[in-house]
């Protein structure tokens, strides 16, 4: 069994992030707050509640080295939280957005972060030392619809975005004064900010969940038409592969190693995709058991009561033999999984453990240590 810990924190979790030492987890319980829980003596206790946003917090990221939390919310704002003493102090980031912020991620060097928004723009924010605040630069005029996912390339300059117009785009986010120009040839030689390096038009449906592989060679993103797209050699002539699968679409993906990726989505169980020696990707299996539990006859009880009250209980004799109650998918999560976060051990580039959170309010930690059939790909 790959799931090693299941924690029920709230009724519904929008997104979550772990602290650098993995002792604390921050998540949004589907409202405008961020709750931080700490694991002490096998029990989770709520240590902080960050309350600054007015609407639901759509993205949380916790930087590993500088221990800062960035949160972005549907109220068009983003805050960077610094731990001072025992309190988290927020700093407002002027994003200059006029629609909701949908996703946020720290760059690998943690000097910048990217925010994707419903205003069809992406904001790249960096810290300006002279004025002691976070400044944003916008990438405008490129997206046709809301930006649903952002992902940084390991070189800290390239940024991949996915949008509900079905396209995945790669931009250069070189900022003078913040980034140093590496004497490397390749995609990072286009050093103008906001320059679109690549636009991938592979999906006919909305695109979500984009991630780069650990080396930055491969890009993967998910389409709402139950397909996952892999792009190698991102540059002037990329090679793309589509993998279609039978189940419900995914929401997010995570590269566990160069050749293995875990996807999570509406199926309530993580799916593993792997590439063989030739580099061809395919679906391997689901993680975790899939028990077929039958739902009880008390479906949506408040509805049947309301109905029964109107017409007398006798007429509404529960005849469940007439309609076969559909079975739940089983598995550890009961509802859609919408966020997957790696739990990296320092020094190791492959991810052995990761955690998922979903609309059922659970945060589940998974371990790939004992999966014999998957260890070839790690």
């Amino acid at each position: 069994m790959a799931a090693i810990a299941v924690h029920q924190f709230a009724q519904c979790i929008t997104c979550h992030a772990w602290s650098p030492d993995q002792s604390m987890v921050a998540f949004c319980p589907n409202n405008n707050e961020v709750h931080i829980y700490r694991l002490s003596q096998d029990k989770w206790e709520k240590v902080h509640v960050l309350q600054k946003h007015d609407q639901i917090v759509s993205g949380i990221d916790w930087s590993a080295r500088s221990n800062r939390i960035v949160t972005a919310s549907h109220d068009r704002n983003s805050y960077v939280w610094n731990l001072e003493g025992s309190e988290w102090v927020p700093t407002l980031v002027i994003l200059r957005l006029n629609r909701a912020a949908l996703c946020v991620q720290w760059s690998p060097k943690e000097n910048k972060f990217a925010v994707g928004s419903g205003a069809k723009t992406v904001c790249i924010c960096y810290y300006e030392q002279e004025n002691n605040w976070w400044v944003s630069k916008l990438i405008r005029k490129r997206h046709d619809s809301s930006v649903t996912g952002v992902a940084w390339h390991p070189n800290n300059i390239l940024l991949a975005t996915t949008s509900t117009d079905g396209k995945c785009r790669v931009f250069s986010t070189f900022i003078k004064g913040v980034d140093t120009k590496d004497s490397r040839t390749g995609p990072s030689s286009d050093s103008k900010f906001g320059e679109q390096i690549l636009q991938l038009d592979l999906s006919l449906s909305w695109a979500f969940g984009v991630k780069w592989s650990p080396s930055g060679n491969t890009l993967a993103y998910v389409g709402h038409n139950s397909m996952i797209y892999f792009v190698d050699d991102v540059g002037p002539s990329p090679l793309a592969q589509n993998v279609a699968f039978r189940d419900l679409p995914l929401r997010d993906v995570l590269f566990v190693s160069e050749r293995m990726i875990v996807g999570v989505g509406f199926d309530c169980s993580p799916m593993v995709f792997a590439a063989d020696e030739r580099g061809i990707w395919s679906f391997v299996r689901f993680l975790g058991e899939r028990k077929m539990a039958s739902s009880g006859s008390k479906y949506g009880s408040q509805f049947s009561e309301a109905f029964g009250k109107l017409y007398g209980q006798s007429k509404h004799g529960v005849s469940t033999d007439a309609v076969e109650p559909s079975r739940s998918r089983g598995g550890v999560h009961e509802n859609c999984i919408n966020c997957i976060v790696p739990l990296r051990q320092p020094g190791i580039s492959t991810v052995m453990r990761f955690s998922t959170s979903g609309l059922d309010g659970k945060v589940v930690v998974w371990d790939l240590e004992n999966q014999a059939d998957l260890s070839d790909y790690l």
Partner: protein, 150 residues
Amino acid sequence: MCLQNFPCQEVERHNKPEVELKTSPELLLNPVLICRNEAEKCLIETSINSLRISLKVKQADELENILTKKFLRFLSMRAEAFQVLRRKPVQGYDISFLITNYHYEDMQKHKLIDFIVQFMEDIEKEISELKMSVNTRGRLVATEFLKQFI
């Protein structure tokens, strides 16, 4: 039924069911129309955060027509109790359901589907029972009334 929370692209700080607004065509998916015959149809329209199911119930004669209309209007007026029911059916249909991502977060998907199927079955049963009772009553009343002329 894959819905997710999606803030409005047109108006800031708002979150509206996109299938009702239809302002951003890229957020809507192709509607599916399932027809059993001329008189029974089911239209399913989806978008990124909401889903609208409209059904047309079989009505064989005038009496069923009137009964269906009155009965479904009665239920739709009390739509709050049912949460997923829409107050007015879509033009051309008898009853509509609107399921948003909030329902998806609160309730489980397979139970929502079970509810809708069971609801429609119960409606059909109710209407046939009502029709039978109207006919029976009519017959009884007519018999009693005409007895005085025998």
